[in-house]
Symmetry: C2
Subunit: 376 residues, 2 copies
Amino acid sequence: MSRTIEGSPRADGFRLPGEFEPHAGCWLLWPERPDTWRDGARPAQAAFAAVASAIAGFEPVTVGASPAQYRNARAMLPPAVRVVELQADDSWMRDTGPSFVINDAGLVRGVQFDVNAYGGREHGLYAPWENDRLVATKVLELERLDRYVAPLVLEGGAITSDGTGTLITTLDCVINDNRNPGRSRAAIEAILRDYLAAETIVWLPHGLMHDETGGHVDNIVSFVGPGVLLLAWSDDRADPSYERVREAQAILSRARDARGRAFEIHKLPLPRPTAMTSAEASTLTISTDAKARRAGDPVCASYINAYVGNGVVVVPTFDDPADEPARALYARLHLTRRIVQVPARELVLGGGGIHCITHEQPKPQGIPGRFIQLKS
Amino acid sequence: MSRTIEGSPRADGFRLPGEFEPHAGCWLLWPERPDTWRDGARPAQAAFAAVASAIAGFEPVTVGASPAQYRNARAMLPPAVRVVELQADDSWMRDTGPSFVINDAGLVRGVQFDVNAYGGREHGLYAPWENDRLVATKVLELERLDRYVAPLVLEGGAITSDGTGTLITTLDCVINDNRNPGRSRAAIEAILRDYLAAETIVWLPHGLMHDETGGHVDNIVSFVGPGVLLLAWSDDRADPSYERVREAQAILSRARDARGRAFEIHKLPLPRPTAMTSAEASTLTISTDAKARRAGDPVCASYINAYVGNGVVVVPTFDDPADEPARALYARLHLTRRIVQVPARELVLGGGGIHCITHEQPKPQGIPGRFIQLKS
């Protein structure tokens, strides 16, 4: 039901909306692999259920679960959440779901990038990833939406859009031989322009330190709206990302968006650096299929990694003094949205956050009048 | 997203529509098990694809496929067919899908019966069947439709409805200790009345001979519309079902429907008796999980086992002299529908037919005016 469309979204008049634009709903995948998620994934499942429940109070939520986990997911999630069968290799809908693009007539299509578990067999986080490669297809089939297939390895968490032609991303996760070997920056930019209708691409060299993805943008910077950014920040020299957030600040301060504007940048504090405890590590299943996680390994937590929905922002907490200032800043910048805090320690232990496990599906408002033709 | 509703469809004003009423679409499951479907299920997959394609010309079609078969199903099916992931234990959507009920306000809900692979571990056709038990749930979740859970083992192919309170079914497949041990006819009838809003239940003792299900009604009789039946028929005394169709005729001739009318009965010829050939049997995979099928085993073919859709009847062919008279009778009785013939030998080799592998989802027309309240 989902046709594959030749050509490109840009040529067809589609754009990548901002995440702060209206949503038709939100997608997640249900966690289960015990070599990513400690204790047989039960604590992560409770955390995912809390995120899904928080969002479901504001917009429709669909959670994809494997056949083996379907009953358990259905039982742990509230009735308002739709559960569909959807086998993936892990549970990062942000990264494996389609990039939805929209046009002024109110049409939605999907852009399907390739994925390779964050760097392939040698540098990636798990193997195989053949089910991950089908997640975008399956979501678009479920929604009966047509798709473009982009010739690039790109996770959704590697990019952020202002909805008006500005894309921010990181070199580490895109122009990297572990994803797109031998591809030049110019060639990759051409694909981003064609498939995501990006007019201006702002490249940060890195994301945060210890980000297992190699440094996704969605831990370090996000759009509040066109021209307005949240930037992860720390004034603690001992913070491993101390230099990186300053580097990002320098680049973003000089940058101009697709409309030629400078960015208004708001600093969002980082939680204190933290590591996996022995108790946490001891309940991980050892596996040959996934990167080992050990006691003492730094984990990468960030309040940037949040979900902006219809009338809500779901913001992580880490039992950290910065939980409250983070909440307060979101509240100040999103005046029309409720702020709902959800504990996210279990998510960062698995290598991600609230943004990584969610993926909004836009609901274009359309401009019906634009296509009214008067008979002569 | 699919709430479980207490109470019963009858109490809530819902009814089981006739299959000839308007559809929102049609559901199928993709065949794959090599111990049911010969030659690694490839010939069956081509046959299922032909049925799905025929229907997709007239109404939306969704095919559920396992994670392992998703790519293959997507490749073998035309773009107009939606493919969703849906793990089942075999591919009988008629039997494992929900019984959709509708009300006059245009609402649709699902009734979820239990299944046990046509008779359980000892008498059934395969094991396990835990995925089959979830098929109705998954379909209703996908469609965001609420469900009733009926306390009865009942396959969809075991019943047929005229949409106005008349149900025809067979004793062999319902009042049988291999499905519902120790349950009285009265107790079972009470459930059928409550969950399918049946006012009049016509019991045939048997279906056709050699029907692996034990004798589903959907091989022997179907409704053309309220009061009008098609009955499988043979004048060949050597036909194994010669006595059974006469027995059914005698019962149906005396029966009255829920509105007190006698049935108008049209005899639809049976194809000649046939058996599995050595060539066919030789490519079946032997398994401990499924009933063995051997060369020389009789197979049960019937033109009753067809799909009535929006503007179409998909009728099986068996390379048999009765193919044409069967087509002609369908054409005469369904004046507003196109008749599309599809070869179905591969389906009967697996134990079913076109009706067994499909399941319509009704599209209630509603009576909007009924709920308009005038302000006083």
